[in-house]
């Protein structure tokens, strides 16, 4: 068996796969990149060739103008993959956002999995995470502290619907990240029986359309810019978190401000964001999901890319698992999209 450290190199700017001369989620433009999912801290523009799921390519085309049609960019369905320099690459569901994938690499009898971002609980907008056995498991740790235990999503959705119904003269404005979180909140609302039109900020329009185009049922969406103030009373409005306290929100009927994020678990954090209704809805694994996943995958070694690595490292140490932190840079988007 080859020694992993001879063919794979973690760098602050991404993971380099030597025999294939390919980077995974590189933070700078490279010749060849395999991309786990469309979030900006994993998917960047300017690469020579991109390997990803078709959904991720579509998202990259929408956000960064990546040319999906170009033959050097290649899309692979879950379970499929390609071979390069003797390394077999394949894509497996990560349950994070539409198209998100773990990337499995097999080389000289060794198996390495890069999770990108992931979660374990159900999400109507994407395929659930699959456990892929491996020798080295390269995981994220955004919520790698035992204080992070996300409550059931249905409970948070019920809280949101309850807040709208409690004050029918007002509206509830939910700050939700434009890729993934916004569509998931909408889909969860539909699942909970919220049939009314949902109003959205213009910045969410194209991504919602992309999701709908991939068969995710978001129901009737209306643009805030085309609605009048009165009709939005008693309704739910979604916007990127950055729009919550800016002038844009003045056109809404006395909005209750909410943010949907795993960070909302900690009151001090929620207070800092001036939120009135914190919704603990996350697209990242919480502590229990992270530790359960490592236990299930049961790799020979765990590498931690980014997040609260100290907490997860300590857990690995206590459970006698070999682990190390990679300290990847440029993953600060987690502050917004988690």
């Amino acid at each position: 068996m080859a020694k992993a450290k001879t063919w794979i190199e973690p760098h602050p700017g991404g993971i380099y796969v030597k025999p294939a001369d390919l980077w995974i989620d590189p933070s700078r433009p490279v010749e060849r990149a395999a991309v786990t999912h469309g979030h900006a801290d994993h998917a960047r523009s300017g690469h020579g060739a991109v390997f990803a799921t078709p959904e991720t390519l579509a998202i990259m085309a929408l956000r960064y103008g990546v040319d999906v049609a170009a033959s050097h960019n290649r899309g692979f369905a879950y379970g499929d993959g390609f071979e390069l320099g003797g390394v077999r690459f394949s894509f497996h569901p990560a349950g994070h956002v539409l198209g998100s994938a773990q990337i499995l690499m097999e080389y000289a009898g060794e198996r390495i999995v890069v999770t990108g971002d992931y979660k374990r609980r159900s999400d109507p907008t994407c395929k659930p995470f699959e456990v892929v056995p491996c020798d080295i498991f390269i995981t994220e740790a955004t919520f790698g502290l035992p204080v992070f235990r996300h409550p059931p999503t249905a409970q948070e959705i019920a809280k949101l619907i309850g807040a709208v119904r409690a004050e029918p003269d007002r509206s509830v404005l939910v700050g939700a990240y434009a890729l993934g979180k916004a569509q998931r909140v909408i889909a969860e609302l539909r699942g909970a029986g919220w049939d009314a039109p949902i109003y959205i900020h213009g910045a969410l329009e194209k991504m919602c359309a992309l999701y709908a185009g991939h068969g995710v049922d978001l129901g009737e969406l209306r643009l805030v810019s085309e609605a009048d103030k009165a009709e939005m009373a008693g309704q739910i409005i979604l916007a990127p978190p950055s729009a919550l306290n800016d002038r844009w929100s003045r056109r809404l009927p006395d909005p209750v401000t909410a943010i949907a994020s795993g960070w909302m678990r900690v009151r001090q954090r929620a207070r800092q964001r001036m939120v009135e209704l914190p919704l603990v809805i996350s697209d990242h694994a919480d502590w229990d999901e992270l530790t359960t996943t490592i236990a299930e995958v049961n790799p020979g070694e765990t590498w931690i890319t980014h997040g609260s690595e100290d907490g997860l490292l300590r857990w690995c140490e206590l459970t006698q698992r070999k682990a190390r932190a990679l300290h990847l840079v440029g993953r600060d988007l987690e502050e917004e999209e988690a």
């Binding site: 502290l145 035992p146 204080v147 992070f148 235990r149 409550p151 678990r265 900690v266 009151r267 001090q268 929620a270 207070r271 001036m274 939120v275 009135e276 209704l277 914190p278 502590w287 229990d288 530790t291 359960t292 609260s308 100290d310 907490g311 300590r314 857990w315 206590l318 459970t319």
Partner: protein, 561 residues
Amino acid sequence: MKAFAALIDRLIYTRSRNSKLALIVDYLRHTPDPDRGWAIAALTESLDFPAVKAAMVRALLATRVEEELFRLSRHFVGDTAETAALLWPESGKPLPFREGVGVGSIGLAQGRWTPPAATREQSSQVSLPSPEGEGELSVSQAVDALSAATRSDAPAILASLLDRLDADGRYALLKLALGGMRVGVSARLARQAFAQAFDVPIDDVEELWHAIPPPYAPLFAWGEGRAERPDLKDVAFFRPFMLAHPLEEESIDLADYAAEWKWDGIRVQIVRGGSATRIYSRGGEEISAAFPELVAAFDQEAVIDGELLVRGEVQGGEAASFNALQQRLGRKTVPKKMLADYPAFVRVYDLLAIDGNDLRPLPWTERRRQLEGFVPRLADSHFDLSQIIEARDFDDLAQRRAGARDAAIEGVMLKRRDAPYVAGRRAGLWYKWKRDPLTADCVMMYAQRGNGRRASFYSDYTFGCWSDAGELLPVGKAYSGFTDEELKWLDKFVRDNTLNRFGPVREVEKSLVLEVAFDSIHSSKRHKSGLAMRFPRIARIRRDKPAEEADRIATLLAMVT
């Protein structure tokens, strides 16, 4: 505990005072006794459980959560109660560490607290979402258990309570047990909520509140019309203060109004009823513990209204500045040296009750007559009578006001001679006529963003004056006095003239002169300039004045009182 936890959570995230009020009103109306009483006592920080302290909670957590994981979590969250609430292991969920690792030496099995028989059968189901009421740990059960705890069994008792709650419930319980709720609910707001919830006069609530201990069952019974107003005979209860409007009239007739100096201390009410003596501050908070010598000296069955002051040596035994008084405020115990260095006394303004008779309905002239007869019955070491200013007419009074040099004089009070003592501010009865403020020309040095509505503006300014060595030294900080237009201008000035950033603070080019008004100025060891202003505010922006011509520290020193 669920309803209480939900209330706390909503209060945390609710910014407006009216919305907070509405939430408490709703809670009081829909929660049974005695839970609502304990809840309101917890919100206003009126509970204390000596056996439960933060260090004990940390030690308890160490028996459940591995030490390093706790430390990392505490560091991230920043609050012990919240960290503990989030980390507490729930049955049916995996532990945050491998079983057996990190469990300390405290054996919980033996010392486990047994809930009362009535709840014991149901206790297995309470960690699941259950409807209000049955099986759920109530606030009063928690209070009972915590009150009964001793230092040795407190960890086991707290553990058994935490086991019965979800994360929000655990947060509420730990905040109730440890204090430090920080949900922006003052005692005043809570009492207003009570008055509003049961549609009873706020003045009555204010009076009754201090006479009845938590969980205030007789108060709720009265509020809901199930019982008579509680009888307060033989109780040292608080009477809401009568307050004054600022004088805006050009002149008033001294035949109708009596004039008295307004002293720069803190307004207090001293009440002796039954065998207890209590001192209340203006908001109705009890501050007896900070002034034990006054409690001891007030030996008459009476209620007085007066100004609490500290005698200063500098003034030859007269009332000292507010600065001296500040040394005495907010203490739970008072060191001997403090009593000797800053002796407190009360300058008595009014007599509200004597020997069980309520004097408040009487006109001021009659109360004053009785007051003059009463004050000599008190120890003159700790009590003196506020003197009436004998002015010929309003102009004469204005002159005396302008000539008053006493540091402890804040201005003049004008009281309508035929007015009864009524709670709150009533038009035309009492006026305060403050001394004209002092001013100084200072240079803006630093600016910081404001809060709430002003969060996007640099609205808090630190300003300084010149030392003899030609160095600018900070002399104060102000965040008021300007118009919205001026604020916009100041904000732009700060952004355009930033030299350095230190977190939320910006250091600016030392070029802008601000005319600062303040009530008085005192020496202070806390500031490099050795000065501290009282109530500084921006009077004018002096764009016309070069920074070099701003005032010197020496000029300010001459104004020190």
